[in-house]
């Protein structure tokens, strides 16, 4: 990795089944992530992905770019917009891309962008990885 380098974007498909799987694995059973009725009652357009699932996908992209399962030293995001997941087999897609902001002392700092239907779903998203 070198400063200014644009890393190859990764696209992740997210379906309702993925939300159920993530709920069970993480222990986050908030019904807005699986129950349409509850999601609409709190003013959402429908069931949305767990913010932590979106962040986990960003973490996956970063880990894969860095090339080691424990390369991530620092990962921080702001959740700026929900990721609605329609009740069909196609679900939705989250795209994660990054630019290398700096490289020094065996560490690279990445500025991340995550989008869903072209809109940013994470803000202030950055990672520091061991390189």
């Amino acid at each position: 990795m070198e400063a200014g380098q644009r890393l190859p974007a990764r696209t992740f498909r997210v379906t309702r089944a993925d939300l159920v799987h993530y709920a069970g694995a993480s222990g986050d059973f908030n019904p807005i992530h699986w129950n349409e009725r509850t999601a609409r009652a709190v003013g959402l357009p429908g069931v949305i992905a767990h913010g932590m699932l979106t962040m986990a996908l960003a973490g996956r992209a970063v880990t894969e770019w860095a090339g080691a399962p424990d390369a991530v030293l620092d990962l921080g995001v702001r959740f700026t917009r929900p990721v609605p997941v329609p009740d069909d087999d196609a679900g939705t897609e989250v795209e994660v891309s990054a630019v290398v902001a700096a490289v020094a002392d065996g560490r690279a700092e990445l500025e991340l962008t995550a989008t869903c239907w072209g809109e940013k779903v994470l803000g202030k998203a950055r990672a520091v990885v061991r390189v």
Partner: protein
């Protein structure tokens, strides 16, 4: 009801150790589609120098949010969870989490602020071994939406 400002700076007692299970790490990795064998296969993980399967970078949310439940369930803080939205999240690792780790979580309320009718609650969870060796620090900022919005 506004958040109780008296909680700023408050440290909760450290939790009993959370034992990181190999199957839990595999389950979490599968749920996020992370297929690196180091997350799934202890032999491969050991061959690459880890004591057991490695947890993906956001796995620490599992013990950290379990520890933070103490705040959520504390009526004195006044956190109305039905109005809560996840604001910010950050993990800073000293070393990776691996299966077999025992993790103790110490929660501190760092900050409570207010802007545009919404309140913001920032907590820090220091995740350590029972001997106090640092593993990962987890920051979380929750947004409590105001009555009007």
């Amino acid at each position: 009801m506004p958040l109780n400002r008296g909680y700023v700076g408050r440290q909760l007692p450290p939790t009993p150790p959370y034992l990181v299970g190999r199957e839990k790490v595999r389950e979490f990795a599968s749920a996020i589609g992370a297929d690196d064998p180091a997350y799934h296969d202890p032999e491969q993980a050991r061959a690459r120098g880890y004591p057991d399967v490695v947890a993906p970078p956001t796995f620490a949310i599992v013990p950290a949010s379990a520890a933070s439940r103490q705040l959520r369930d504390d009526p004195e803080l006044g956190l109305d969870y039905s109005r809560v939205v996840h604001g910010d999240q950050r993990f800073v690792y000293t070393r990776p989490v691996v299966a077999g780790d025992e993790l103790v979580c110490a929660v501190t309320v760092e900050e409570i602020t207010e802007r545009a009718g919404h309140e913001f609650l920032t907590t820090r969870v220091e995740v350590t071994t029972p001997a106090g060796e640092p593993v990962v620090t987890v920051w979380n900022k929750l947004v409590v939406r105001g009555e009007g919005g």
